[in-house]
Amino acid sequence: MENAATQNSSRNDNEIIILGIESTAHTFGVGIVSSSKPFILADIRKRYTPEKGGILPREVAQYFSTVASDAIHEAFRVSGFSPKDLSAVAVALGPGMGPALRVGATVARALSSHLKIPLIAVNHAIAHIEIARFLTGLKDPIVLYVSGGNTTVTAYNHGTYRVFGETLDIALGNLQDTFAREVGLAPPYIRNGRHVIDHCADNGSFLEDLPYVVKGQDVSFSGLLTAAVRKYEKSPNLLPDICYTLREIAYSSVVEVTERGLAHLGKKQVIVTGGVAASDFLNEKVEIMAKSHDASFIRIPKKYAGDNGVMIALTGLLMYRHGIGFIEPSKAFIKQRWRLDKVPVPWYPDTLG
């Protein structure tokens, strides 16, 4: 980062520089990405961590509005660029939590209007896929996208990413967090870089009677969650076994759906992205699966698994190059339910670099 700060006092003519803002869930992220090396110029994150219970959208929004200004300033300082160097501002308008999204959207609209530069509307899910394709160099993969709010298996076909399989109810991250909370393991949800479920599962072994649900290409976790909580209420001493089995079933089922996608769509590359992609346990499973089908798999760096502004800036840059996604600040409404298969990706399979 320091290199970037000394080298780039101003940009050259062909260089595109995009500032990206992420605020769909717990992280307010600001990233600055350039079309020339070293590409990533700034990556500032402000993460909201609740003291008890889960994440309340209103509280997140309040937190975001107090840190937004600092985050933007820090990003410019770290990158060595000034606002007048920007080609455009990109912002994640969805999918995500309304109050949180509104903070990012407001900041982005203001920047775009004030600097008189274009505003680009980025889909958060697409951004997770694009950062993974960029960092792994696997350009035509089947994608497993797993986070607190998403569980989707997707791959490109005919103009957009298509959903091959998804959860029919709650997301994988949500399953883990809710279970941990119900049985008193959390918050905090992460200890020493691992989820509390992982710690709890360390000394566990497999229990026969929790349900494994794969329906065609879809998974379902609500039955598993209920069964696991009931099991705990009946026999609290089995908690490590319940953690182990819950994790084993949930992760195996998403890997199985990914495997089905790989076989059915005939892809030869696999990537995993989203917050849960930081899990070693999940990555090991996917790696074994990919190997058995002679497909390539590369882990994305842990740091870029979770939400960040860089992925929004990167996707904004790809869109900027293709002249799509431009939106009037006055019309930049958030889209809480914006599906990834509604977004054209004309740059595919290219990426930055």
Binding site: G94, P95, G98, N150, T152, T154, A155, N157, H158, G159, T160, R162, V163, F164, G165, E166, T167, L168, A171, F206, E208, Y212, V214, K215, G216, Q217, D218, E248, I249, S252, V255, E256, E259, R260, G261, L262, A263, H264, L265, E284, K285, V286, I288, M289, S292, H293, F333, I334, K335, Q336, R337, W338, R339, D341, K342
Partner: protein
């Protein structure tokens, strides 16, 4: 159950693996061999090394048992499907009639003949109707699981199937087919789905409508479907 030397099971598998490998899917290997003098497909559920062995065995056992039972039920119900010759649950092995056809998925990918694509989709809908009329839901209705041989479309792979006449379960089959063509044959997905429904209606008659409506409802349950909440306008 009769106990048996472990080497016998291994020996049988070793023998089968010498047959010609027809295809390797997500969960099983298909070998072409012979069974009592007839050409036959040996469907072997592979071990999934990424799973805990206990979970892996539990899943393979359940699916092998279920598939055998459902194939018999489907055959009785008049579904065009390969016949079951043999069933060896301890080996996670099924022996099936060999249909030397081509996957519907490949036929569509290699063809740009819209008439053929429409006809195949209608046929797939008709065959799924027959599956449902037999009291079965398929559970994995992708275009990889229909085989075209001569002028007949065969339904294969009942590994995720179940006995059910429930409207919701049946609707899931329609929903899965639709999503699968959207991810695999995006260019033709609209025409394919409408022809598919046409064939389905032909077979199921008036009860089809309720199931089709339910499938639409299931689709809207997916994550972030915009049509779902019409009362809210995002700002």
């Amino acid at each position: 159950m009769v106990s048996r030397h472990p080497w016998l099971a291994e020996g049988i598998l070793e023998y089968i693996r010498r047959y010609e490998l027809l295809s390797r899917g997500a969960e099983s290997e298909l070998y072409l061999g012979s069974f009592l003098g007839q050409r036959a497909v040996f469907k072997l559920r592979r071990r999934k090394k990424y799973m805990d062995p206990m979970l892996d065995r539990k899943i393979r056992r359940t699916r092998t048992f279920k598939e055998a039972r459902i194939i018999l039920q489907a055959y009785k119900g008049g579904v065009a499907t390969p016949r079951l010759f043999g069933f060896y649950p301890s080996l996670y092995l099924l022996v099936l009639e060999y249909i030397p056809g081509k996957r519907m998925k490949d036929v569509i990918e290699e063809s740009s003949d819209l008439e053929l694509i429409t006809l195949l989709s209608r046929n797939a809908g008709y065959q799924l109707g027959q599956v449902h009329s037999s009291g079965i839901v398929h559970g994995d209705t992708t275009t990889s699981n229909f085989i075209l041989y001569r002028d007949q479309l065969y339904v294969i792979d009942f590994g995720l199937s179940d006995s059910s006449k429930n409207v919701e379960d049946r609707a899931v089959d329609l929903h899965l087919f639709r999503r699968s063509i959207e991810s695999t044959h995006a260019k033709y997905s609209d025409i394919m789905y409408s022809s598919f429904l046409e064939g389905y209606r032909e077979n199921m008659g008036s009860i089809a409508e309720e199931i089709i409506e339910k499938a639409e409802e299931i689709r809207l349950r997916g994550r972030y479907i915009e049509e779902r909440r019409t009362v809210w306008r995002d700002i």
